[in-house]
């Protein structure tokens, strides 16, 4: 069974007097262990798609199944539970909690799973060490470089062992060599068996994925073939 299946997904924003159709008729599947890039220029509906796949938003039409669950029928609390258990987010602007240590940032998703403080700290420290940040546990985001911050964000996405890692322009704010380091980390994760969905406008970034799904004006123009 596919990890993720989108079937004729549409998303329309009601702006009062106008209806804006951000997505229409989007269908795609992602298998477990795949690394897929969703590629498209700005305004193509990438962010809307990531919000829906990430269970931050609901489609206005179509059917979305994640890990065998029909997400469209769930209430807010159940969606929060899916975000907590199944998805790990990596954002372009890192989105670390300001004034909070790297360790506490990484431990936060575990807080919402009800994990004990001691175990949270142990798992957060282990996740950070795995990404080469064992010496930065007590540092706050403002004391870290962009590359380090994005690695903290990656550790935070991975600490819950999610079925799906969802990355939105993860290299967009990084200098070239730092971006390459982060991309190399994604490749390592893929090699280790993680399912990764990479959302980007940059074909070079998308190139590290096995498969590229091209998005244009809210529709899939090329679902790509697994390499």
């Amino acid at each position: 069974m596919s990890l993720l299946r989108l079937d004729q997904i549409g998303r329309t924003y009601d702006m009062g007097h106008v209806q804006v159709e951000a997505l229409h008729g989007v269908s795609m599947t992602v298998e477990r262990g795949e690394m897929v890039a969703i590629l498209g220029p700005s305004g193509s509906g990438k962010t809307t798609m990531m919000s829906i796949i990430g269970c931050l938003d609901r489609p206005t039409s179509g059917r979305y199944e994640l890990d065998g669950t029909d997400v469209g029928s769930l209430n807010d609390a159940a969606l929060a539970r899916i975000r907590s258990r199944t998805i790990g987010f990596v954002f372009q602007s890192y989105n670390l909690l300001p004034g909070t240590s790297a360790m506490d940032n990484v431990a936060t998703p575990l807080l919402y799973q009800g994990v004990s403080r001691r175990e949270r700290q142990a798992r957060a420290a282990a996740a950070l060490e795995q990404l080469g940040l064992g010496h930065r546990l007590r540092h706050e985001p403002s004391e870290l470089s962009g590359g380090e911050q994005q690695r903290v964000a990656l550790a935070r996405a991975l600490v819950t062992k999610p079925a799906l890692v969802l990355a939105d322009e993860p290299t967009g704010n990084l200098a070239l060599h730092q971006g390459q380091e982060v991309l190399a980390l994604f490749q390592d994760l893929h090699a280790a068996g993680h399912t990764i969905l990479l959302i980007t406008h940059n074909p070079e970034v998308a190139a590290i994925a096995q498969r590229q799904v091209h998005l244009l004006d809210g529709a899939v123009v090329d679902a790509g073939i697994a390499a």
Binding site: S84, N95, T108
Partner: protein, 394 residues
């Protein structure tokens, strides 16, 4: 999330914005401190009134002729009342204004009260020096006098005056005692009088058979009403009043005055507490204001937390606990400040330090309630934020 986690989160947040947290708390601190302080002022006033009233005499009933019917009370009435059960002491009184002089040139005009040996019990007087009038002195009509503290001072008499002599309207009396002062001023000064055996006043100053009042100390507080009833019945029979006739005497109950006074000061306490709680409500609005600003400033944080798996109620409780922590810490500081303030006021006003755990419990509960009432709305706003928009918020 457990309450402990939420409190830890709230504390670390408040630690990061210490100045803002302190300023936010200030409203609650002032509110709670004024509640605690003003209520203690109210209690202090009540305590002082109660103490002053009880210094007039314990379980005191005073019988006077009814208005417009002078001289209806007699010494025989007093004797008959003394025969009733349930009474601790009965003291008839005849009063007259006289000049009291020492052998030197000191003189003062004061009221000379002719009474019995029970007077000290009925009116709760303590002897400072010497002795009080004895039953023997009263029976024999000895020319002995006990001086009130104000009179003793006015005449320049101290402990060495015991056994000495003063003249009342020219007649010599032996000074046998000086009373402890009770305090009071002006026309109500209970220390501005001298006490002599009743028979002496009758013989030398005021003729007739009437007495001006009869003071009675009832044996215990629960017997007040019963004592009134039996005295009233006795006097009506003795005065030959028909069933429908109005009393030609009046019985005044000390406790009525006490109840009236304490209900006034109770109202006063409530009023002061009410005014102070307005300050507390203003403090609560301050918390709400800051929490609303905080929700706005931390919109992105809320979006991040939701993306990381926080449910609406996790966010709700996080912000609510933050507001509660602010109001509770403010409340506790306010209680401490209030205790200090009431100790200072108590010392200045002279009723001492009144510590009332109930006020503190009420103030604490009240400040928690303020936190909940004024924290819920901002917290709901935070919980309802749409995660997509919140994440995009700059």
């Amino acid at each position: 999330m457990s309450a402990v986690e939420l409190v830890r989160l709230a504390l670390s947040r408040l630690r990061r914005g210490r100045v803002r947290a302190a300023l936010t708390m200030l409203g609650v601190i002032i509110g709670v401190a004024s509640v605690v302080g003003l209520v203690s002022v109210g209690r202090g006033t009540t305590a002082r009134i109660t103490q002053q009233l009880s210094s007039l005499g314990t379980n005191l009933l005073t019988i006077n002729p009814a208005r417009g019917s002078a001289n209806t009370l007699t010494l025989d009435d007093a004797a008959a009342i003394a025969g009733l059960s349930g009474l601790a002491a009965v003291a008839p009184e005849i009063q007259t204004q006289r000049t009291v002089a020492t052998s030197t040139t000191n003189t003062t005009t004061t009221s000379v009260v002719g009474t019995s040996a029970d007077y000290a019990t009925v009116r709760a007087f303590e002897v400072w020096q010497g002795t009080f009038l004895t039953p023997f002195a009263v029976d024999q009509g000895l020319r002995q006098v006990v001086l009130g503290a104000t009179v003793a001072t006015a005449l320049g008499l101290g402990a060495d005056a015991i056994g000495g002599q003063v003249n009342i309207s020219g007649l010599p009396f032996q000074v046998i005692g000086i009373l402890q002062p009770k305090g009071g001023a002006g026309s109500n000064d209970p220390d501005n009088q001298v006490l002599v055996p009743l028979g002496v006043v009758r013989k030398y100053y005021v003729g007739g058979t009437g007495v001006q009042s009869i003071g009675i100390s009832v044996a215990n507080a629960t017997g007040m009403q019963a004592a009134r009833d039996s005295i009233s019945e006795l006097l009506r029979v003795r005065h030959g009043l028909a069933a429908g006739a109005t009393d030609d005497f009046s019985i005044f109950d000390q406790t009525q005055l006490l109840q009236a006074a304490s209900s006034i000061s109770g109202t006063l306490t409530l009023l002061l507490g009410g005014i102070a709680s307005i300050a507390l409500i203003v403090g609560g609005i301050g918390i709400m204001n800051i929490m609303l600003v905080s929700v706005r400033e931390r919109t992105r944080e809320i979006g991040i937390r939701k993306a990381l798996g926080a449910r609406g109620r996790d966010i709700l409780s996080q912000f609510l606990i933050e507001a509660l922590t602010l109001s509770l810490i403010g409340g506790l500081i306010g209680v401490l400040a209030g205790i200090v303030v009431s100790a200072i006021i108590g010392r200045i006003a002279g009723w001492g330090f009144i510590f009332d755990p109930a006020t503190i419990a009420v103030a604490t509960v009240f400040s928690l309630a303020v936190g909940i009432v004024f924290g819920v709305w901002p917290a709901r706003q935070a919980a309802r934020l749409d995660p997509v928009n919140a994440l995009r918020y700059e």
